[in-house]
């Protein structure tokens, strides 16, 4: 009886998989839009990075707080962007990356650098806006920033934080 129920359940899942493997129509215009877009000049890359050595006083403070986003921009970048430092204290980590919707959640784009006391830091340029971000520890563990509000709209299920950066005059 139980085995039969289990088999029925598995059959249902196999039917679902079969359905999901059906081709989905994708508009061929996507090809043209891609080719048209790559023919345009790429938007400017973020600028204004500074060396970690300059931020050690901030890192000492960050070590106390756990993790912190320094809200004061260091220097203006292009397109109204300012440089912001993200810091995480993770003494046991072998690697940490900053991932967020500003870098497509791509760990390779903002690897963090280890400083003293298990403090990891990186600097990114961000124009004014609202961003979700998280730290990827050892390539597998997602951590929200304990010093920032949790993102409420994180449908994906992984913990993430949110930061809002105002304009220069705000």
């Amino acid at each position: 009886m139980f085995d039969q129920q289990e088999r029925d359940g598995e059959d249902v899942v196999e039917r679902v998989i079969h359905e999901l493997r059906r081709p989905v129509y994708i508009d061929r215009a996507v090809d043209a839009r891609v080719m048209n877009e790559i023919a345009q000049p790429a938007p400017a890359e973020p600028v204004a990075r500074r060396s970690v050595a300059r931020v050690l006083p901030w890192l000492a403070a960050a070590a106390v707080l756990g993790a912190v986003l320094i809200g004061r921009p260091w220097s203006p970048g292009g397109n109204g962007a300012d440089a912001f430092q993200f810091v995480l204290v993770a003494p046991q980590a072998a690697s940490v990356s900053l991932v967020g919707d500003f870098n497509d959640w791509d760990p390779s784009r903002a690897p963090m650098h280890a400083a003293r006391g298990g403090v990891w830091a990186t600097v990114v340029s961000l124009p004014p806006g609202r961003y979700r971000y998280a730290f990827l520890v050892n390539g597998v563990e997602w951590r929200a920033d304990p010093s920032a509000p949790l993102a409420r709209d994180d449908e994906f299920g992984s913990p993430s934080s949110v930061v809002t950066i105002g304009g220069r005059d705000s």
């Binding site: 059906r22 129509y25 959640w105």
Partner: protein, 185 residues
């Protein structure tokens, strides 16, 4: 004997593009459009946002092509970019999600007597999939629909293999439960 069309591999095309042959990228787009598009539609739940995510992934991949360490594995690398785009898009569009009911297969079968049942089943499946957590949906689709190995999925998602196996298991259990409930409605 005769003339055979020899398809260039991903690595050759990537090298041509890096060498300045921008047009060669259209071959990679055509090669991966449908498969990656299916993943995006299943993951995000509506075609419009899925096509936008797909387009964005292709453009980002092109602009980051210098970072593709292994051109022969361009497809896997591109998959990783799309998975990230779908995560971002999925979170952004969660509140206005509408699930695809009709796909090309269903439309092509419009004159078939079973057409109504197929469309209904596709709708049920889409809604059941939407009830999974995004993590479970992602793992389930990559494992069972895209047929990737756990090692490949781990590489794409940054998640550990044991966590992925658990997500797939949960997805299967949830789908069984949801569809059983649907049968009794």
């Amino acid at each position: 004997m005769g003339i055979e069309r020899v398809e260039e591999g991903d690595a050759e095309l990537v090298l041509r593009i890096r060498g300045g042959d921008v047009g060669a990228y259209s071959m990679l787009v055509a090669r991966y459009r449908d498969r990656l598009g299916r993943y995006a539609v299943r993951m995000i739940g509506n075609r419009e946002d899925a096509e936008e995510a797909l387009q964005d992934a292709f453009v980002r991949a092109y602009r980051s092509l210098a970072r593709c360490d292994n051109p022969a594995r361009f497809g896997a690398w591109l998959y990783g970019i799309l998975v990230n785009r779908c995560r971002t898009t999925g979170a952004r569009t969660a509140r206005r999600r509408r699930w695809i009911v009709h796909d090309e297969g269903a439309l092509n079968g419009a004159s078939h007597p079973d057409h109504g049942e197929r469309v209904e089943w596709a709708d049920i499946v889409g809604r059941a999939l939407a009830k999974l957590t995004p993590e479970c949906r992602e793992a389930f689709l990559l494992k069972h629909v895209e047929d990737l190995e756990y090692e490949e999925i781990a590489e794409l998602t940054g998640a550990g293999i044991s966590a992925l196996k658990m997500r797939v298991k949960r997805a299967r259990e949830h789908l069984q439960r949801i569809l059983k409930e649907a049968e009794h409605v």
